[in-house]
């Protein structure tokens, strides 16, 4: 077992040989205008800039939202436009949780290779992959929303433009078009991305290809980064930390908390960037690599309920220790569990509070709309809800009337309460995730010990191959 452990640690720390002919695919944007937040667009622009700075300007393809077709595909908060301010009461009445200032515009990416509508995207990807030479090195980076298949999480999907869905099996079918001996790496920061672990399952991709990847959350959890947040210092999604580690500077150009280059070979591998993210991301994501998920899925029935025994030899233990240290936690299980129980109860309470405010907002909105229908029976409110600019005169009239109602003041108060409550909830969820991360890596260190003891030689070879694939990816 010691020899196996030395080999694995060797893979982690050895100066890795990085592949040269790399090709990147950036796929981004929301699935519809009302769910295509500016944060996604900003991430894609930042990633494109990183690729340019690293000298890959001719080695990537970018697919985003509506692509080169005319029209809007990005939602953002704009309080500066006078028409938005003038109609804020009307917008508050019809928007989810009474949010104001929501505006839409076209993406500001200078040039895309196309949109992300499923059929068009699949056609483009097939064409791209078929034109590659053998031994290609492919990195697929997605920045958008993900969907949850409750009945079969192995078929979770990417939410693409025009409300189309690209499932795990559909993505693997398209990845199968890559040339022989290719190495495919995927970086998926979307909600429920853990389901895409199934891309590595044997038989899905041909044996002569290597595939591995990084996912922000498990197949059942929502990820960070689906908000209309405009302050880039508040961007906490997986991409923000992962790519900051790869380029050794955060997205605002500031230095990082620590050097992500663990083996001091002057190049940060994807795995090192992932480890940096795990250690320092204060987000609610409990991100995972395919090698970590492989260990978790391997766990046989006769070890599942066992108490976790400390395995300080494992690198996963070091990760657990460093996450604990960075978050003023202890690795002691009892201490961790007692903190977890208290925080979990508080999160549940806060979720309930937020839900109650949401209900109050929705009730108040309905009450005011009923009042409007009685007061202005001849005005088409559905039209105003869809596009107030089409009937601006009536929209302004109604907006002024709404502001004079006592219910409007209450709605504004609820809206503010909701923002505060949601902010506090996210803060608590982020703290809870740190405890879960420590626990998860303690558990992984123990699973690794059991794996090296009981796994078959072919399973150990598969695990090592995943580690090698994750470690050899870099920019």
């Amino acid at each position: 077992m010691k020899t196996k452990l030395i080999i694995i640690i060797g893979i982690l720390y050895s100066a890795t040989s990085f592949s040269q002919n790399q090709n990147f695919w950036l796929i981004g944007g929301g699935n519809k205008l009302t769910n295509s937040q500016e944060q996604i667009e900003k991430n894609v622009i930042w990633l494109e800039q990183i690729l340019h700075n690293k000298g890959y300007q001719n080695d990537y393809r970018l697919y985003y939202g509506i692509g080169e077709e005319p029209g809007d595909d990005t939602q953002y908060i704009d309080t500066s436009r006078p028409e938005t301010n003038n109609l804020s009461a009307l917008q508050m009445l019809y928007s989810k949780n009474a949010q104001t200032g929501i505006s839409y515009r076209r993406h500001s990416i200078i040039k895309t290779d196309g949109g992300t509508e499923k059929t068009a995207l699949l056609r483009s990807l097939a064409k791209d992959f078929e034109s590659l030479p053998n031994d290609s090195d492919i990195t697929l980076i997605y920045n958008g929303h993900g969907g949850h298949r409750y009945d079969n999480e192995k078929e979770n999907y990417l939410k693409l433009w025009n409300d189309t869905k690209l499932s795990v099996s559909e993505l693997s079918n398209i990845l199968a078009k890559t040339p022989d001996n290719s190495t495919i790496r995927f970086i998926l920061p979307q909600c429920y991305s853990g389901g895409f672990y199934n891309l590595i399952k044997p038989g899905i991709i041909a044996k002569n290809k290597k595939i591995c990847g990084f996912m922000s959350v498990s197949e059942t959890k929502e990820a960070e980064g689906c908000t209309l947040e405009t302050n880039s210092e508040e961007f906490r999604d997986y991409t923000t930390y992962f790519f900051a580690a790869l380029v050794n500077k955060d997205r605002n150009g500031e230095n990082l908390i620590s050097n992500p280059d663990l083996n001091s070979d002057n190049k940060v591998s994807y795995r090192e960037a992932h480890i940096y993210t795990l250690k320092y991301a204060i987000s609610k994501d409990i991100s995972r690599s395919t090698s970590e998920a492989y260990l978790e899925k391997w766990l046989p029935w006769y070890l599942r309920w066992s108490a976790i025994v400390e395995n300080t030899d494992s690198y996963y233990w070091t990760i657990a220790k460093e996450i604990a240290l960075h978050n003023s936690l202890k690795t002691d299980t009892k201490d961790l569990n007692s903190k977890y129980s208290k925080l979990r109860a508080s999160v549940n309470e806060q979720r309930y509070q937020t839900y109650r405010i949401e209900k109050k907002i929705s009730q108040k909105q309905k009450e005011i709309i009923r009042n409007l229908k009685d007061m202005f029976p001849l005005i088409n409110l559905t039209l105003l809800k869809k596009d107030p600019k089409k009937d601006i005169e009536n929209a302004l009239k109604i907006n002024t009337y709404i502001t004079s109602l006592p219910g409007y003041k209450q709605l504004s108060t609820y809206s503010e309460e909701y923002k505060q409550s949601r902010k506090y909830l996210i803060k608590q969820e982020r703290s809870l995730a740190q405890i879960n991360k420590v626990h998860r890596f303690k558990k992984l260190s123990w699973i690794e010990k059991m794996f090296l003891r009981y796994a078959s030689s072919s399973e150990i070879a598969e695990y090592q191959s995943l580690l090698k694939c994750e470690n050899s990816g870099s920019m």
Partner: protein, 131 residues
């Protein structure tokens, strides 16, 4: 007589089926006592549906092992006029300790314990009936 036999078979089947859930419940209880560790933290990332599926799949995987173990214990107890019953109990306990501490599979140890208990309750030894 026939109905008595059927009743015995049913009791045995029920006993064998409940061994895995009982063993997991015991382990959960112990981890709750020792570490204050609830089910939520262990399986925080699983949905309720997935947790049930995982549990049932583990249960099915454990069943053949439990059945084989039950047959062995049943055979040993049936012939316990030759092999002393206390020796079986001692060996079972030692084996449990070995599995829990060396193999580090507490669930296997618990299954061993509960299977022996089930055999003890469901299959009488030959001692009483033998000459």
């Amino acid at each position: 007589m026939h109905s008595q036999q059927l009743q015995n078979y049913l009791k045995t089947a029920l006993g064998v089926i409940t061994i895995y859930p009982l063993s997991s419940a015991l382990l959960l209880f112990l981890s709750w006592i020792i570490d204050n560790q609830g089910l939520q933290l262990v399986f925080d990332e699983l949905s309720r549906r997935k947790f049930i599926l995982l549990f049932v799949s583990d249960w099915l995987k454990a069943l053949p092992f439990i059945i084989i173990l039950y047959i062995i214990f049943h055979f040993l107890r049936k012939h316990s006029h030759r092999i002393h019953n206390n020796i079986i109990i001692l060996c079972t306990l030692l084996l449990c300790l070995f599995i829990a501490l060396v193999i580090q599979s507490q669930i296997l140890a618990a299954i061993l314990l509960f299977t022996y208990a089930a055999t003890y309750l469901l299959s009488p030894t030959q001692q009483m009936t033998s000459k």
